[in-house]
């Protein structure tokens, strides 16, 4: 180690004249200043051996289990560093166990003396002086001195008193040094945690102004088990997720990093949320340990259509606030990720398709709903809804900030759990889809009605509807192919009214109004059926080939804009579809 340390207490190997207190003080300083316990121990044994005028000295430390004594430092005529004896064996063992010092005048006749030590070292032990190192009830070890250099080799009672005092002082110094070591270790861990937290933070996406998706994560401790992410695919769709890893601390943070990376990597090639989550689940199940699992909602939002498709793996139900301000909840119908690859259906996690129609979709972790507001009240889902409703006019980032900000975070009220929230807002995208704001204004004012057909809502009248739609489309300048598509879309809309609007009731009517508005043809289909909640209208998940549910998909595929509107207070629905003439 190369350290050389000068010390200036009493004479070495000479008569005992120096101030014992000076030695004690010096030893204590030594332990603190070197910062290395091994060096300090060796110096202590050296000082003590010289001070008591012994031929050799050894310091034994008890291991953590209290089973073995090991010689950690040694000075003088013999070198026994590393020698191990049982915790109650030999003279040292007895000294440690009884917590009393001892003078052995003739070591060779003492049964407890290990003669083989002398045989191995070639040294003849005459007398031994041994004192325990302990602080209160904590046994640390003992210091053993061999052969007094004066007095014919025999130790005196005064030597024992001196060694006992020095050993106690060494014990205290060792405990202090150990605590200091632990502190350094704790600080190192704290620094590493801080670094891990910074890296985690850098994993979170940075959206920026005007983005329809935003998220916030505030960890309760340095690292977080929550996460969210979003990124855009080449075709403009936005893939997003939000999740919560079971447990807290470093293991949860590592699991979070893994899930996050898997989703981001696989999400760029698998554009089906159910199958994407199934793949992430397989990977996590393959390597997950300690029964950890992840609750997560993954989804894909298409700003061009306002269609959101999500899969929920055991996570808190997300919320949709539709354009009217009403909330809809989407509870999980599948287990969390990491439980088993077998419980997921072959075609992936169940996918929910939501037509946002200008609404906003929110994901959050239970840290938010269970967070405290006003002392001991939890915010709850109702609290989240109230805050969102109060701030509907703000942009999505500000709305999230208000909700997260409601949870009390002061120095005295430590967060109970990580706070994480993500929002997807369709409002601006819907305005873009509707053409432009001036077209919105034009609807109703400069609409020129081309045709108006009112028929009983029965299957045999659809042919009439089809021929009117096809003819008017061609008249308006669409080619045969486009006219065919439009005819198909309006036909499907009529079918939906018959099959789902009126159902068994065959006495209902429907009216189709076709009008021209600037460069657009507007198709409005009116019915008097019970008002439908537009967010419950599902188009089929095309990746899963199933009969049925195709109609709404075809309508969205063909038309430039599709809106479901309530007709009046008394009920009824309007389906407004717009097709640009030049498209």
């Amino acid at each position: 180690m190369g350290d050389t340390i000068e010390y200036d207490y009493g004479p070495k190997g000479g008569e005992v004249t120096a101030d014992t207190l000076a030695l004690l003080a010096e030893m204590g300083k030594q332990f603190v200043s070197t910062g290395d316990l091994d060096i300090s121990l060796n110096l202590a044994v050296e000082h003590i051996t010289d001070y008591v005028e012994a031929a050799g000295g050894a310091l034994f430390m008890l291991d953590e289990a209290g089973e073995t004594l090991t010689c950690e430092a040694c000075y003088g005529d013999t070198d026994i560093i590393g020698m191990k004896v049982g915790a109650s064996q030999g003279i040292v063992g007895a000294c440690v166990q009884n917590d009393t010092g001892e003078i052995i005048r003739d070591a060779q006749t003492d049964d407890r003396f290990h003669k083989n030590v002398d045989e191995n070292t070639g040294f003849t032990t005459k007398s031994i002086l041994c004192a325990p190192m302990s602080v209160k009830d904590v046994k640390i070890g003992a210091i053993e001195l061999i052969n007094k250099r004066t007095n014919d080799g025999f130790f005196e009672e005064t030597d024992l008193a001196l060694l006992s005092a020095l050993a106690s002082s060494a014990a205290l110094a060792i405990i202090n040094a150990r605590m200091a070591e632990q502190l350094v270790e704790q600080e190192r861990i704290a620094r590493e945690l801080e670094l891990a937290g910074e890296i985690q933070l850098s994993l979170l996406p940075k959206g920026g102004e005007g983005w329809p998706v935003a998220g916030i994560n505030i960890p309760a401790h340095t690292v977080s088990g929550d996460f969210f992410d979003y990124f855009q695919l080449e075709d403009g769709r936005i893939v997003f997720n939000l999740g919560d890893v079971s447990g807290k601390g470093m293991n949860a943070a590592l699991m979070m990093a893994k899930t996050h990376s898997l989703f981001r990597c696989l999400g760029k090639t698998i554009d089906h949320p159910g199958r994407l989550m199934a793949r992430v689940n397989e990977e996590i199940c393959e390597t997950a340990t300690r029964g950890m699992f992840v609750t997560m909602v993954g989804g894909i939002y298409n700003p061009k259509t306002g269609v959101l498709r999500i899969a929920n793996a055991g996570h808190e139900p997300p919320l949709l606030q539709d354009q009217s301000g009403a909330f809809h909840s989407y509870p999980a119908d599948a287990p969390p990720l990491g439980i088993s690859p077998l419980i997921v259906p072959d075609d992936g996690y169940p996918v929910e398709e939501i037509h946002m129609n200008g609404g906003a979709f929110y994901l959050f972790t239970d840290g938010l709903t269970e967070g405290y507001v006003n002392g001991n009240d939890e915010l709850g889902v109702e609290g989240v809804e109230t805050l969102l409703s109060q701030n509907r006019e703000a942009d999505v980032t500000s709305r999230l900030a208000v909700v997260i900000g409601a949870i009390e975070q002061t120095e005295t009220t430590q967060l109970r759990d990580d706070l994480t929230m993500l929002g997807v807002d369709d409002r601006e995208a819907m305005e873009t889809r509707a053409g432009s704001s001036n077209m919105q204004a034009a609807i109703g004012s400069e609409q020129v009605v081309i045709a108006r057909v009112s028929v009983p809502a029965t299957a045999d009248r659809l042919k009439l509807l089809r021929s009117v739609v096809g003819d008017t489309a061609r008249l308006a300048g669409f080619d045969d192919k486009a006219a065919f598509d439009i005819m198909l879309a309006v036909d499907e809309a009529g079918q939906n009214v018959i099959r789902h609007g009126y159902g068994e009731d065959t006495s209902g009517d429907m009216e189709l109004v076709i009008s021209r508005c600037a460069e657009n043809l507007v198709y409005e289909l009116f019915d008097s059926a019970e008002t439908v909640d537009p967010t419950t209208i599902k188009s089929r998940d095309l990746e899963d080939v199933k009969p049925g549910g195709l109609g709404v998909h075809l309508i969205h595929e063909i038309m430039d804009s599709v809106e479901f509107l309530p007709r009046s207070q008394e009920g009824g629905n309007i389906l407004r579809m717009i097709k640009k003439v030049d498209s």
């Binding site: 045999d460 598509d485 198909l488 079918q495 998909h553």
Partner: protein, 110 residues
């Protein structure tokens, strides 16, 4: 909607014609499922179908899935322009096996 069933080279060929729409699709569904039930490979000839809507497409999907479960061949042949357009919009043109002619269809299931 009209239909015609014939057998050729161990396969059953169903030729549909006219409009396969909400009104007629329950009958189309029944015909196609019965043909699959009989156990041979099935060719559905759509050359004379003027128009097919989502309910008609649903009948095709259901019978196609039944055939696949039973490991029987199932091919759409001579698909008319209109029917093909609907299958494309539904992104099902890659799901179904589609052949230009009855002969090509027979070779496919043979």
């Amino acid at each position: 909607m009209q239909h015609e069933i014939r057998e050729q080279d161990g396969s059953r060929i169903v030729a549909l014609s006219g409009d396969v729409v909400l009104q007629s699709s329950p009958e189309v569904r029944r015909i196609l499922l019965e043909c699959v039930e009989k156990g041979d490979s099935l060719l559905v000839d759509l050359s004379a179908v003027d128009y097919i809507d989502s309910s008609g497409v649903a009948s095709l999907i259901e019978s196609f899935q039944n055939a696949r479960k039973r490991n029987q061949g199932y091919v759409l042949v001579s698909v008319s322009e209109g029917a093909l357009r609907v299958l494309q919009l539904a992104r099902l043109d890659k799901v179904f096996t589609i052949c230009d002619t009855v002969e090509a269809g027979l070779a496919e299931v043979g």
